[in-house]
Symmetry: C2
Subunit: 351 residues, 2 copies
C-alpha cells in the first residue's frame, strides 16, 4: 500500500559500477556501502544506498556465486512425474529453502539413466550447493549414481546409497497407528488388505499389523496382498467375507486396514454393495491420506498420512546444514506418520 516509487525495470540490469559512478564513488566503496561493510561516513553510505535504490540495482547472483563458490541453488531429482508422493516432498523442500534465498532446480529423470546423468551433470555444471533425491518408491534407486559427486546429497522418500543420509516415512509406525486405533475403538477382527509383495512397505506394514494384533491378543488374519487399485479392494472384500479365513472360523472382519486409499475406496464400495455399513458394521482405514480420494469417499476416509511435506522440510534443512559445513550422521531417519481421523473408522460406542 505504501506507494514506493518502483524503479523502472531496465532492459539491461544495472550494475554496481553504474551505481558507483552515479554516486561518485568507487565500486569498492559502493559494494561496502550496500553490504554494511567497511568504514565510511553515514552520509556516503546513505547516498550510495539511495542511488542503488533509485537505479533499481540488484546484485548479479552469478558474479556473487562465482566469487563465493556457493550458488544458493540446489538440485532436486525425482522420477515421479505425476507424483502424489514426491510433490508434497518437493513442496516441503521448497518451503524450507525459499526463506534462505535458495532456489530449486527441479529435474524429472523418469527411469532413464541417460536423462539422469544429463540432469546431474547440468546441476554440477551450474554449481548447485547440494542435491536432494526423491522418488515414487522408498525401496527403489533413482537411475543415477549420486555417491561421490563432490556436493552434499540427501535422499528423501527414495532408496539411498549406502552411507548416505536419508529421510523416509515410518511405515511400520504408520500401520501401528491405524491398527491400534481400531483396537482402541473396540474392533476385534481386523483384516489387512494391501499392495503387491514387491513393495518393501507392504511387508513393513503387514509385520506391524501382525505385531500389534499379537500384542493385544487379537486374531491375526493373513494380510491379503494384491495391487494398489480399487478393483483389488473390491475383490479382497469378496475373499474376506465369502471365504473362510482363519481357523477361528466363521466370524467376519469388523475392520479393514488398507494399504492405500484407493484400495480402501474399493473396499468401502464393495462393503456397501453387500449391505454392510461403514463404519457401523465394518471400520475402514486407508493409507497415504490422498486428500482428493479420502474426502470424496462416502463416508470420508480415515487414513494414515506420511507427513511428506515435513519430510521434505527436514531434508531441505539438513542439506543446508551440510552445505554450511556442519557434520551429520549418515543413516536412515524414519519420520513418524500421523493418523487423520475422518468417519470411516467409527467411534467409541459410548463416544
Amino acid at each position: 500500500m505504501a506507494s514506493n516509487a518502483q524503479p523502472v525495470s531496465a532492459k539491461t540490469p544495472v550494475t554496481l559500477r553504474e551505481v558507483a559512478a552515479s554516486a561518485g564513488v568507487s565500486v569498492a566503496t559502493a559494494s561496502k556501502a550496500l553490504n554494511g561493510q567497511g568504514r565510511m561516513t553515514a552520509e556516503t553510505r546513505e547516498r550510495i544506498r539511495e542511488t542503488a535504490q533509485r537505479l533499481g540495482f540488484r546484485p548479479n547472483s552469478l558474479a556473487q556465486s562465482l566469487l563465493r563458490r556457493r550458488s544458493f541453488t540446489v538440485g532436486l531429482l525425482t522420477n515421479d512425474t505425476y507424483g502424489r508422493f514426491s510433490l508434497p516432498v518437493m513442496s516441503g523442500i521448497s518451503d524450507a529453502l525459499v526463506d534462505k534465498g535458495v532456489s530449486v532446480f527441479l529435474c524429472n529423470v523418469e527411469d532413464d539413466k541417460r536423462l539422469g546423468q544429463l540432469h546431474v551433470d547440468a546441476m554440477l555444471d551450474k554449481r548447485v550447493d547440494g542435491i536432494i533425491a526423491t522418488g515414487k518408491r522408498i525401496d527403489r534407486h533413482l537411475p543415477v549414481d549420486l555417491s561421490n559427486l563432490g556436493v552434499p546429497t540427501i535422499y528423501a522418500f527414495t532408496q539411498p546409497d549406502p552411507g548416505a543420509i536419508a529421510f523416509v516415512s515410518d511405515d511400520a509406525g504408520g500401520a501401528r497407528l491405524a491398527v491400534e486405533h481400531f483396537c482402541r475403538l473396540g474392533r476385534r477382527r481386523i483384516a489387512h488388505v494391501t499392495g503387491p509383495a514387491s513393495f518393501a512397505v507392504v511387508h513393513a506394514r503387514a509385520q506391524a499389523y501382525r505385531d500389534v494384533l499379537t500384542e493385544k491378543g487379537l486374531p491375526v488374519m493373513e494380510p491379503l496382498l494384491g495391487s494398489w487399485s480399487e478393483a483389488w479392494g473390491h475383490e479382497a472384500v469378496k475373499k474376506l467375507f465369502d471365504g473362510k479365513l482363519s481357523k477361528s472360523g466363521d466370524e467376519k472382519p469388523d475392520a479393514v486396514f488398507c494399504g492405500n486409499d484407493q484400495i480402501a475406496r474399493g473396499v468401502i464400495d464393495a462393503l456397501r454393495e453387500r449391505g454392510l455399513g461403514v463404519p457401523d458394521d465394518v471400520g475402514v482405514i486407508g493409507f497415504d491420506n490422498w486428500q482428493i480420494v479420502a474426502e470424496a469417499t462416502r463416508p470420508p476416509l480415515t487414513s494414515v498420512d506420511m507427513n511428506l511435506a515435513a519430510l521434505g522440510r527436514e531434508a531441505g534443512l539438513t542439506l543446508l546444514s551440510l552445505v554450511g559445513g556442519e557434520p551429520a550422521e549418515p543413516g536412515i531417519r524414519k519420520l513418524p506418520c500421523r493418523l487423520v481421523v475422518r468417519q470411516s473408522c467409527g467411534r467409541l460406542p459410548d463416544g
Copy 2:
C-alpha cells in the same frame, strides 16, 4: 558397455587453468581447443581434449553465464502445489528444455503476493533467461506482476497479462469433441453436468455444448452447474432423471457430458445405483483425462485430454526462441484437446 575410465570426482572441481597447465598450454588455447575454436595443430587440440577428459574437467557454468549474459536457466512459477494441471505442463516444459541444456527453477508461489515477489526477485537475481507462468486455473492471475521484467515471459495454462504470449487449452474445442462423439454414436438426448459458474471454462464448454447440439438439431438441455466433485455428479443424476427437464418432456438423457472426471465418476456411480447401464443405457464422457480416475472407473472413462504436456512443450520452445531474440506475436494460442476413448461412452450399435 565401453568401460570408460570414469574420472575420479574431485572434491573441488577442476578448472580450465589446471587443464591448461597440465597440457602445457595457455588457458586461451585450452579454451579454444575444447570449444573447437581458433587455429591449432590437430595434435595440440587432441592433447588438450584428452587432458581435460582425464582430469574430468567440466566448465564452470557460472563463469560462462557471467560472460555470455545467458544462464541457460528459466524460472517456472506456479500456484498449483499439488496440481494435476500444472504438473503435466511442467513436465512438458522440462522435456522441451532439457535437450538444450536449460534447467528449470520451480517456484511455487501459492497465492501469496509476498512469496511471488520473493521468487521472482530471486529468479531475476540469478539471471534466468526467461520465465514461464503456469497455474491451476486458466482464468486467474498469479499473485505477481510479470510485465516489464526485462526477461521474456510466457504464460501457460494461466491468465496472461495483456499483450503477453499465452498458451491455453481449447476448452470449447474439447467440449465439441465430446458432444460430437456422442452424436456420431447416435446419442440423441445429451446432458451436460459441469462445475461452478465462477470458472470461465464452464461457460466456454457449455456454449460449445449448446452450439453442437443446435447445429445437429438435437434438443439442448440447460447445463447443470455445480461443483467439481463426485457428490455433485451424484446429485446431478437425481435432477436429470427425476425432474422434468426440457419442454420435450419425459425423455431421459441417453448421454452425459461431464465437466471433469470426478463429476463423471459420480454420475456413473449414481446411474449404476439406479440400475441404468453405462454405456448401454447412458453414455458418459468426462474432462481432464485424469488417468488415475479415468482408469479406475467402471467402466473405464472416456475423457477429454487437454494435452497439457504438449502445451508445456510449446511454451518452453517459444520461450527459448524469444530468448534467442526471435520475435513472436503476442496473443493467446489455444491448443487443441484430444478425446481419449475408453468404454464409458459406448460404441456404434453395429460395431
